[in-house]
Symmetry: C2
Subunit: 801 residues, 2 copies
């Protein structure tokens, strides 16, 4: 991924046409001439099709002679590049074969960088071929192909009949991809008057539009002197148009927008420092220069502004290549939300479609297609016959508040407890985290995250638990309590997940006994009333990327379901199947079981549901983050029909009285449907086969197959590193626990050095990561490219091995 295109001195713009044949090259020629008084002007045609003597760079050379021109790839046929590039007569000027999209981007970036003088202002125009969506050599729409560079755009509008429509549609397609259009030009046509309409249209968007005189008509081709006459007429046209100052306001606007963009980028960190109150941030000690200015993002990469520090200035003096933006790998998957790449145009269009079709539809009493389609898709995706109802909220925290309200109500109703007079608690794991609202903070044990919140009152019991990580080449399960037995070791992660075998092991027996005894003591001796079992299956995220032994979580669910007598006086079903339901009976037993899959669900760990690793069907399941593929907040709380029925009564006030204004907002639901279906299709099509092959040890039990996008070899090698305490990878998650003399935990600073070194990166490339105490983790999206990930693995190896 090259950095996006921005240099302090070079004013580079990309010229897009609203359609083919709208006069892009003529307008570019005018611009080259008009810009020349400002400094050197260069013209780059990345891909050109058609006979060489008509090529656009030749035209520029002829009529704007002081312009430096370059064409990277030239194809003979005057057709779209994706066809021309594969014609037998194809010929390229600089490399022998059709370039990949990445090669094309790199070549453009290198060329522009070579044109960026360290100090002298200069201009460059990068001209596209055809219209905005005309395909590049490999068939990618140019608007998508060139998006990683995100050059500011000069749009050449269409002056012909139909040109208003073509121009606005082209503009919308560019907007949809996050481009900024800095200027619009078109030929003046007094009959169709498109310039008048479009001027008013773009004025509302603060985009200047200039209508230039149309070029002279082509001379009669039967005239033997036509070629010479044409050249003379064009030369006069260019001279006259520029001399008359027809492009003065464009030149001024381009300069102004370039300067404004710079000034803004320079000022943003200071302004944010003065104005923004950041989440989970101790502001004391945070300086303005600690704040990263993100100019845009694409795929797995942020484009971060490189502040013009003294070092940067010196680097710029030393070489012309210092770019003002740097590609930074989004190694936290933007707080675990990112799934299908930043700036994904399909999701942008999904969002826009729902916005255009509905806006927002208030939800109670109404149904709309995106909300229903998402409910259907999600319920189907989970493969859990218990889950039959979908409740929508806005984020994991509110979805968990709903889950807790559901669980507590069901338990109190069954056991006849009056929650207004006696405290009802939840059963969970230490290190759990379910969100930042006070109600769900109460579901976690007192910790750094919550204990200073004035209204926090932890309401539960939390088990310490055995943790999995690779140490010195072995998958190791470390026990927190002697009652749970000695440390276990396995040769593969698949064995750790082979619950069928492990349930009957000594460890399984010890786990169940310990859990049973603990609950019995709390309930019978201490009189605690429990209303729900809450777990983050497999990995407890915010608590520190704690990889819980899946056998322990399975045993916890089994004990709760198989021993309802522990919790209250009732006659309850005693399910015998592993997932907890028997034929026709999906009622909860013991306690409602809530799985918080906000982080771990929906392919984050490589599977549609994290519950499937445990082969437990929860009664309530909460999903968010990846749900919308990394675009907008949305959360679903799925529940069984039996939980739902606990709220049915003749009283309105017995209903689940929860519901945010934007409940089931159409934009979020539509994006979620499209994200989920995309991920399910990738799964079905075997998009991750290469990763799976790397991790799979041939075994007949494919059900328990576990894999990661991070290579098995990296995990093994890191587990031997001197500074590494343990490491694991699962799905898109890589977690590295560093040794800490002070004992680790959230306040540890052991991982900060590594984090800072990754962030410092190289001149053009860095890695954003997050730490949780002594743990540094990296998280990819589901569309991350192996090449990209292996590059980051090399960086890690360089740092740690």
């Amino acid at each position: 991924m090259p950095p996006a295109a921005l240099w302090r001195t070079l004013r580079a713009h990309q010229v897009y046409g609203a359609n083919t044949d709208v006069g892009k090259t003529i307008v570019s020629t005018l611009l080259c001439k008009a810009l020349q008084p400002q400094g050197p002007v260069s013209f780059l045609k990345p891909v050109s099709t058609g006979p060489l003597d008509e090529a656009d760079d030749r035209h520029i050379q002829r009529y704007a002679p002081h312009t430096r021109t370059q064409c990277l790839y030239q194809f003979d046929e005057p057709v779209s590049p994706h066809i021309a590039a594969h014609q037998p007569s194809q010929r390229t000027t600089s490399v022998p074969s059709v370039p990949s999209d990445r090669q094309l981007l790199d070549a453009i970036h290198q060329t522009l960088t070579s044109w960026a003088h360290p100090h002298q202002p200069a201009h460059a125009l990068v001209e596209t071929a055809g219209g905005v969506h005309s395909p590049g050599p490999n068939g990618t729409s140019q608007a998508d192909l060139y998006r990683p560079l995100r050059l500011p755009i000069i749009l050449i509008a269409d002056a012909r009949l139909g040109g208003i429509s073509a121009s606005i549609a082209a503009y919308e397609s560019l907007q949809l991809r996050g481009y900024d259009v800095h200027s619009v030009l078109l030929f003046r046509d007094d009959y169709y008057q498109n310039h008048g309409y479009l001027h008013a249209y773009f004025a509302k968007k603060a985009i200047p539009l200039v209508a230039v005189p149309p070029p002279p008509p082509r001379p009669d081709p039967t005239d033997p002197d036509a070629a010479r006459r044409d050249v003379e007429a064009m030369r006069r046209y260019y001279e006259h148009t520029v001399r008359e100052g027809r492009l003065g306001s464009v030149v001024e606007a381009l300069e102004r927008k370039h300067v404004e963009r710079w000034e803004r980028l320079e000022a943003m960190a200071e302004k944010a420092h003065a104005m923004i109150w950041y989440p989970f941030t101790q502001h004391r000690g945070v300086a303005a220069q600690d704040i990263n200015v993100i100019d845009s993002a694409c795929g797995d990469y942020f484009q971060s502004y490189q502040r013009d520090t003294l070092e940067v200035r010196e680097a710029a003096s030393a070489s012309a290549s210092a770019s003002a933006l740097r590609a930074t790998f989004d190694g936290s998957a933007s707080w675990w939300t990112q799934g299908l790449g930043h700036g994904n145009p399909d999701l942008a269009l999904s969002a826009a479609y729902a916005a255009g079709r509905y806006g927002h539809v208030m939800f109670p009493g109404n149904i709309h297609e995106p909300a229903l389609a998402l409910a259907e898709t999600l319920l189907q995706s989970q493969g859990n016959p218990r889950l039959q109802r979908v409740f929508y909220t806005d984020n994991g925290s509110t979805g968990m508040e709903v889950a807790v309200k559901m669980g507590l109500r069901a338990a109190c109703a069954r056991y006849g407890w009056d929650a207004s007079t006696e405290p009802i608690r939840i059963l969970g794991l230490k290190g759990s985290y379910h969100g930042d609202t006070i109600g769900v903070m109460d579901c976690s044990e007192p910790s750094t995250y919550n204990k200073k919140v004035e209204w926090y009152r932890g309401r539960g019991h939390w088990f310490d638990f055995p943790q999995v990580s690779m140490k010195e080449g072995k998958w190791t399960i470390s026990m927190p309590e002697t009652a749970l037995g000695a440390e276990l070791q396995y040769g593969s992660l698949s064995e750790v997940f082979d619950l069928e075998a492990r349930l009957h092991s000594e460890a399984g027996r010890r786990y169940r006994a310990y859990i049973h005894q603990t609950i019995q003591r709390l309930v019978q001796q201490e009189g605690v009333k429990f209303g729900a079992l809450i777990m983050e299956p497999i990995i407890l995220g915010a608590g520190g990327m704690l990889f819980c032994d899946p056998l322990f979580q399975r045993c916890l669910a089994d004990v709760v379901r198989q021993h309802p007598e522990l919790f209250g006086e009732q006659i309850a079903p005693q399910p015998s199947s592993p997932t907890g339901e028997t034929e026709g009976n999906r009622d909860w037993s013991g306690l409602p079981i809530i799985f918080d899959e906000v982080f771990t669900g929906l392919y984050r760990l490589g599977r549609r549901s994290a519950a499937s690793f445990l082969q437990v069907h929860p009664d309530i399941s909460v999903h968010a983050k990846l749900l919308t593929g990394g675009l907008v907040p949305l959360c679903t709380t799925l529940a069984s029909e039996e939980i739902f029925r606990a709220f049915l009564s003749a009283e309105k006030s017995d209903a689940l009285l929860h519901g945010h204004s934007y409940t089931a907002h159409a934009v979020g639901c539509q994006v979620a449907v499209d994200s989920l279906q995309t991920m399910m299709r990738m799964d079905h099509e075997g998009s991750w086969q290469e990763y799976q092959n790397d991790w799979t040890i041939p075994t007949p039990t494919t059900e328990t197959s576990v894999w990661s996008v991070w290579s098995h070899g990296l995990v093994r090698d890191l587990s031997h590193a001197a500074s590494v305490e343990g490491v694991f990878a699962l799905g898109t998650v890589l977690s590295i626990a560093l040794k800490d003399q002070q004992g680790g935990g959230y306040t540890s600073t052991a991982a900060q050095g590594l984090q800072q070194r990754l962030a410092a990166g190289s001149e053009q490339f860095a890695v954003h990561s997050r730490v949780l105490g002594n743990v540094l983790y990296l998280m990819s999206s589901l569309t991350s490219q192996p090449g990209s990930l292996r590059g980051i693995e090399e960086v890690l190896r360089g740092e740690l091995l």
Copy 2:
């Protein structure tokens, strides 16, 4: 607003061209011929430009002779309709002048309705002019102009050079407006091969594409027999192409999609009933047919599916006009979120731009333009120099959780309280509501909304307060306590808001004394510790649209700020200015004051801030709902620098440990910036002058001007109605309290009858409203049209007077 276009038997499609001159009419002719075996086919050209003998409907008549054709408006000049319509030679076939957009829509809807047989399947094609964005007669882009009908679309793609780009861009512009494209057709061109590329492109979107043979070339115009030859060649072309079955798959696809759409609309309510757990809904007693199926929304109107009940069937038998969709006024502004109209294409594009530029950027440590721009815009908009910091969350409830965490921390720090050992409470008003998460539920007194939530524990003291409404033509302030004096009456709402005058009145004196005594008693006698004052300024929304006497809220803020000695031992500033700050000192005094403007802020009540009515500058202010103009969830908690400083320390754990995954998501921030700037521009441009004139009694104190989109005359007249207890309107809100023998309140059913009658509506038009106990309210957006609102007022008058 006509209903959107859907009939059971009539398959109506709109034909859009990717550009002008792509062969729309030729393809339409092919389609008319190909569809004729399925039943009657009609062709509608709403607006045609160019010489009459070339008109598209004439072409259809000639080559697909059994087609019924109609052109509504014909203009001579072969230019865009917005120019042709204003040429001197313009002539129309059916009405004498240029139609308004609304007239055009009505005419199309009427024509199609007249073509809808009660039982016999039929087809209609509605052909547009030029490309998707070609302007209609009044300059509106066709894609916007025809959007209220939301006909399914047949897109004619462009087979020429550049046509791939034009076709995809046109498709994206249609998607952006929430249209469904049911089929794509284009001419086959084996040189450019656009059909191959586009086939693959649209296949990914499950949209069938058919390439039809290109029409024969036009004969040489010098041939005297050219016209006859052309007609013959075209006739052969049409016959041959249809006979060969080239359109068979399109005909099949159109039929299949029509049937699928119907089946889906028929099934959605049942499916939702089985699968969705609705917010704030007691599901017992809710039947599937109670659920409204919203097919789309546009402006102020939902398009609701009219279930095919027996009555509808009978209506359909009786007349051909029964449409399957009905326009329903969104009278709750979709739970108070709607501000700029459903399906607003500008906001859809804003959302798409941010999605395309960023996706989501994890927020801690980073800044991006939409988040910064929104912070700047919001702080500036509030005109409150205290507010200097912006904290982002996802909805009003989470934003209020943050506000409470802020306020409690600041108070505990100043007064030296240990909140882990002693309960800290908040001071508020009865009937307040701040959201559904448990922490902010605790900020409201026990009520129907919260008392059955298992973990709810009300933590506060809540004042009963004087309420404003118009009764029998007088603005009346009803007192809840004898200590507050007798009922007050005013001639105008402006007088109620004239706080400068009222502060020194007997009422002001009584209010202050009562508040002071109450707090003194609670703190000194009962030992209560208060951590914050929380108010919804002016109107308490969810609590029942309670209009609080602004003087009471003002006095509450004044007493808290002027008597810090009431709350704890400290030396605190004694502000003397009305807004509470003195030169250079913006520190809080007494208690941090939190304004929950989630509902009342950002022009909901006609002003940028609800606080401005009280002339109180809160220390913390929360905004959501209208913030994003009715599109996606987003919330901001604004705070003073002094509140911010209470969290600064050397300890990370002293930070405000709150932050959802999608904090400051770019899509929401961008939409909010554009919404807010749009509303501020409307304000600046005097867009609501007509409404303001209706309410203004000439007075020099424009500061206290109050107005509503609902007419003053309606409020006055309703206040005299026999069944009405009181009524008020402010900004976009109209609230009607109905008399209830049982005393009113949330469980009252007094307003349900009125609600049901409004919902029943007429055949083509209904009003969705919400009730809170005995109160029925209506809420418009800020772009609602006076004509539309007056129509609804007529319905109300009919029901209540």
